[in-house]
Symmetry: D2
Subunit: 354 residues, 4 copies
C-alpha cells in the first residue's frame, strides 16, 4: 500500500504562497520526492531559492533552494503533480499534464465543480475517486485531475460530515472569519487589515464556493456521477487580522434531532476509513472537540496534528434551528497544500497512481 | 425645548473605560456640564486626573482632571447622572440615585430588562419613555432609571428597526465580530487576541443579551407596559483584534418580502422622529448604506457622525431566508456612552427632566 | 499676509496615499482651493472618486470625487502645486511645473538635497526660503521647487532644533519605529508585518536620508547657499505594526551641557517665528513634552494638533552621551502632506507666491 | 556526563507564563522529570490543569495537568528546582530551597547581581559556575542559586560575546523592540498595544538591567569573584505588538577595529565550549547571521533551533562608532525558561548536581 520507493513529484506554480507550503510539506515526505518545480516566465531557469520570495517561518530546504525552476507548459515525466497554479493557468495547464499521464492533485478552483473531477477530502468522500476512471475514459487522459476544496469549505465540511451521516444536515448558516494567508502573498495590504475587518472576499466568489462545494463533497457517487447532497447553505465571509487559521460559526438544522451531547459524541468518535487512517499526512483524529467555552481559537488550535486537524467548540443548542458550533482548521495546510498531499497519498494507497 | 442654562450632571463610575467616554463626550456638551465624578474607594477624595488611567486618545480636559472624585453612595444634587457602573454596583446604587430625585441614564445591564425601565434608543423607541411615570409611581421615586442597550444589540437593532416597521422581521441569525474596547480596560489581554479570535464573550452572556434586548426595544408600549416583539434570534459572538467598532453579519426572514433594492431604500430613508433629529448628539442620518462590496469596515466606518452613525453594507438576497447584510457601529460611543447621552438629551427635550 | 481670495492649487500624483492626504487637508483649506488633480495614464480623464482607491477613514469630499483627473505633464495655470509624485516622476515633472511658473511644494525626495532647493520646515529654517530667488535665477524658472523632509527626519529635527540652538548638537544615535502608512498603499503586505517587525526600510535608503537631511535643515543660509550643520548621525530604522505615527529613540551629545530639566524647558518653550505661528496649519505649539513615563505613543499622540504636533517624552540622562529621549509625530500629516501645506502657507505669508 | 536516570525536578511558580514554558520544555526532557509543581495559595491542592490558565499553543501534557499543585514554601526532595517566581517571592523562597539542598535555576531577577550567584549563559560564561562553591560555603547552603539574565540582556550578550572576545567591546547603544509575552499573562492590555508602541518597560527598570547584567556576564572570574567587564551601555526599550521575540538594534565601539565582514565571520564561527555543545537544549549553533537586508524578524526567526538560537542581521559600519547590527532571540525560551533549562543541563554535565 505504501510505495516501495519514493515517487518523484512536480509542484506547479511552486513560487507562490501555496507552492511554498507544498515545498515545506513535501521536502521530507516519506512517499514523495520533489523532482520538478515550475514557475512563471520570470522564474524559469533560475534557482528556486532566488525567485521564491519565501514567506514561511521555516527556512527553505537547501536542496530545494538550488533546484532550477521549469516551465509549467512542459509536462514532466512524473506520476504526480501538485498544482498551486492561479485559476486561469490551472484551467489551461492541468488538462495538459493529465493528458500527458500525470495525476494532478490540484488546489486550484478551476475544475472543482467539473462533474468528472473528484472534489476530494479523504476522511469525507474517498469513494469519489471512482470518478477518475470515467474522467480518464471520457477525456481520453492517461493521467487525471483530482481537486481539494476551498479552504473555508473544508473547515466546514469536516465538521458537517459526521453530523450529516448521523442526523442528516438540512441547511446551515455560517459566518467565516478568514486568515490573511488565504489571500496569498503579498495579498492583503496591512493598511486594509490592521485594526480592521473586511466583510467580503473575492467579491462574493468565496461565498459562492462555500455554498456549492459542500453539496458535491457530501454527495453520493453512483453510475459514474456525483448526485449532490440536498442541503441549503447561507454563507457570509469576512477577512480578519489573523495570520493562519479559518474560523467559522455554524447554525444547522438536522433531519433527525440531536442534543449537543449527542453531536459532541458523534464528532469526537468520527474516524476516517481504515485506508485513510494510515496515510502519512492523516491527522490522528479528524476532529477534536474542545470543552472550553472559548475555543477554538486560530493561534492556539490551527497547528493541531501538524495543521491537518479540525477543532470544534461551543457545541450548543440553537434558538432557531438545532445546533450551533464553531469550527476551525489551518487554511494553508488542511485547507490547501496539506489537503492536496493527503489526496495524493490516498490515490497511491488505493493504487490509482504509483 | 433645549435648556436655557447648562444642566449639572454626575458621572457614576467615571474612572473606567466607559466613564472616560462620558467625560470626553460631556466635556464640551452644549446642554450639560460635568458637576460630579464618582469612583471607587481607592479614588475618592483624589483628583480625577490622578486616579483615572486615561486610555482615550484625546487628552483629559484640564478642568475635569482637577475635579475631586466623590463616593458613589452619596446622591448628589443634580438632575441627571450618567452611569458607567459595573453591573453589581449599578444594581445597588442606581435605585438610590433615582430615589434621590436624579434621572439616571445608565449603560449598565442591571435594569435593562426591568419591565418598568425604558431600554431606549431615541431613533427606535422614543415612545417607551412613557414608562417613566409608571416607574416613578410604582417605585415611589422622584428620579428614574433609563437604560441603553448592549453595544452589539444597538448595532443590530438600528438596522432592524426600519426593516421591522416596513416588512416585519420574523427571525434572524447574526454573528458578531466585536472590538476589544467592549471589554473595558485592561480588558482583553494582548496575548489572547493578537493574531487570534476568541469565539465567546461573557461565557454566553453577551449572546443572551443580543437574543433578548431587541424584543423589548422593538416592542410596543401599551397600558404602562412593553409588549415584546415576536422575533426569533440566534446570535454567535466573537472577539476580534479591532480597537473600536462592532461588526455583525445578519441573515433575516421578513413577513412581507423585500428585494435588496427595497431594503436599501428603506434603510437609507429611515429618519428619527422630529424631536430626536435636533438633539445635539443625534447623527445627521441614523443609517448610511454603503454601496461598496467591502464595507462596512470598523476602522473606516466607526467614526461616522462622531461615532453615532450606523453603517450597513452588502445588502443582498439570502439563499435560505430573505436578506443578508453587514452592519457596524462604534461600540463605546453609539453603543455605550454616546447612546446614554442621546437618551438624556431626549429626556430633556421631552421635558422629563431639566 | 493671508490671501484675499482662495488660491487655486494643483495636486500632482493625487490618487496615491500621500495624494489623498493632500486632498483631505486641502478640501476645506481657508487659503487654497483644489483646482487640478493629476494622475497616471490609467486615471486621466476619469473622475477622481472612481480611480482613487480611497484609504483614509474620512470619506472623499463629494466635490473632489467628481473632478476629472488631468495628466501630470501638462502644466496647469495655478500659482501652487503640491507634489505627491513618486521619485522618478517628480524628477522629471516638477522642474516642468517650476519652469511653467508654478511654485511646487513637493513631498518627493528627488530635489531635497539640491543645493538650490529649500528643504523646509517652517518652525525650523524659514530663512532658507531665501534660496528661492537664487534657484529661479540660476534655473531660469518663474516658479520654484520647495521640499519637505523625509517623514522620519522631520520627527527628529523638530526636537533637535531647539536643543541645537540652545546647546549645540554634536552627534546623535537614533532608532526609528516607523508606521506602515509610510510605505504608501498597498505598501507593506500584512503577512510581512502582523506579529512582526521588519528591521529595514528601502534597503538602507531611509537611513541615508535620516543621516543627511538634518544637516541641511539645521544648516545656515549665507551668500545664496546652505552651509550644512556639522552633526554626526547614526540611524537604524524599523517598520512596526502601527498604522500612523513614527516613533524614534534618540541619544544625543551636546556641545554645552544641559540637564534633562533644562532640555525639557527648552523643548517646551520652543516657538516658531511669528510669521509661522499664525499660519492655518501651524500647530498651537511645535513641541509638547509629556511627563508620563510611557509616552509618546503613536496611537495616543499622533493626532496632536490635527497631526501637526510633535510629542517628546522620557527626556533623561544618557549613560554615554548627554541626553536621551523619545520623539513622535504623524508621518503622513506632519511628515508628508501637512508639512508641504504648511510650507506653502509660509510662502504665501512671505509673499513668495500668491 | 549525562545522567543515567531522569532527575526529578520542581517548578516553582508553575502556573504563570514562564512556569508554563518550563512545563512545556521539561515535559519530554531527556534528563529531567517534572516531580513537583508549586503555586500560590489559591492553587495549592488543586490539579495543575485546573488552576493554570494555559496560554501556550501546544496543549498541557495530560500527566502534568493532573499533578496537584504544592506550596512553594515547602522545600521538596529534588536535586533541581526551576524558579519562575515573581521577584519578591523569589527573594524569599529561593534561599530556602537552596538551604534545603536544592540547586535552584532561577529566571527571577532577585539574585542576578548577587556577587556570589552565577548569572549564567552556558555559551558565554560557563566558567562562572565556579562561584557556586563560594556561594555554598559562605551561605552555608547544600544547594545553590544560579540565575539566567533578563530576556533582552541575553539577546544582546549572545551577539556581543564573540565580538568582545575578538575585538573588545568598549561601549554600545541599543534600542530594543520587545514582545508582549515578556510581560507575562495577562500582562500587556490589548488596548495599550494594538496599533501602538509603548516606549518604556518597568518604568526604567528594564533598561537598568540591560545596562548592568552584561557587565557581569562578560566579566572574568578570579579569586572567588566576578570582575565586571568595563563596557559602557546605553539602552532604550520599547514594547511592540509582537507575540514572541525580542529585537534589538545595536551600535558598538570596539577596541580593535573590525570590518563588517570580519564581524560576520566572528559571529558565524562562534561556538560554545565542547561541554555545552552536547547539551540537550543547546542550539546547533549559538548564532546565525542572515545575509538578507530585512532580517532578523521576530515571527520568522524566533523559533530557530527550538527558540534557543540567536539571529543577527544587517551587520554594517556605523557612522559614529564601529559597527551596527540587529539581533533577535525568543524571549520566553532562550530568554527565560529555555535559558534556565540549559543552565541546569550544564550543571549536571559539570557534575555540580545530579
Amino acid at each position: 500500500m505504501s510505495p516501495t520507493r519514493k515517487l518523484p513529484v512536480a509542484i506547479l506554480g511552486a513560487t507562490g504562497a501555496v507552492g511554498q507550503r507544498f515545498v515545506q510539506l513535501l521536502a521530507d515526505h516519506p512517499w514523495f520526492e520533489i523532482a520538478v518545480l515550475t514557475g512563471s516566465d520570470r522564474s524559469i531557469g533560475k534557482p528556486y531559492g532566488e525567485v521564491a520570495r519565501w514567506i514561511l517561518n521555516d527556512p527553505i530546504p537547501d536542496a530545494i533552494a538550488e533546484m532550477v525552476v521549469q516551465p509549467t507548459d512542459e509536462v514532466a515525466d512524473v506520476p504526480i503533480a501538485f498544482s498551486a497554479l492561479p485559476t486561469e493557468n490551472a484551467q489551461e495547464s492541468e488538462p495538459q499534464w493529465a493528458a500527458g499521464g500525470v495525476v494532478v492533485c490540484s488546489n486550484a478552483s478551476s475544475f472543482r465543480m467539473d462533474p468528472l473531477v473528484p472534489l476530494l477530502i479523504p476522511e469525507v468522500n474517498p469513494e469519489h475517486i471512482a470518478l477518475i476512471e470515467h474522467q480518464q475514459r471520457q477525456r481520453n487522459w492517461r493521467g487525471a485531475i483530482v481537486t481539494n476544496p476551498n479552504c473555508a469549505t473544508i473547515t466546514l465540511v469536516m465538521a458537517l460530515k459526521p453530523l450529516h451521516d448521523a442526523y442528516g444536515v438540512r441547511h446551515f448558516f455560517t459566518t467565516t472569519l478568514q486568515a490573511i494567508s488565504g489571500a496569498g502573498y503579498p495579498g492583503v495590504a496591512s493598511l486594509d487589515i490592521l485594526d480592521n475587518i473586511v466583510p467580503n472576499i473575492g467579491n462574493g466568489g468565496e461565498e459562492a464556493k462555500i455554498e456549492t462545494e459542500p453539496l458535491k463533497l457530501l454527495g453520493t457517487f453512483a453510475d459514474g456521477a456525483i448526485q449532490p447532497a440536498e442541503i441549503g447553505i447561507s454563507a457570509q465571509v469576512t477577512r480578519v487580522p489573523v495570520i493562519d487559521g479559518h474560523t467559522a460559526t455554524v447554525a444547522v438544522e438536522l433531519a433527525a434531532k440531536a442534543s449537543p451531547g449527542e453531536a459532541i459524541a458523534t464528532l469526537s468518535e468520527f474516524r476516517a476509513p481504515p485506508v485513510v487512517r494510515g496515510l502519512p499526512s492523516a491527522p490522528a483524529r479528524p476532529i477534536v472537540v474542545r470543552a472550553e467555552a472559548d475555543r477554538p481559537q486560530p493561534r492556539r488550535d490551527r497547528d493541531l496534528y501538524g495543521g491537518m486537524g479540525t477543532t470544534v467548540g461551543r457545541v450548543r443548542p440553537c434558538n432557531l434551528l438545532d445546533l450551533r458550533f464553531v469550527v476551525l482548521s489551518h487554511n494553508t495546510i488542511r485547507g490547501a497544500a496539506g489537503g492536496a498531499v493527503l489526496n495524493a497519498e490516498l490515490l497511491v494507497a488505493e493504487g490509482v497512481v504509483g
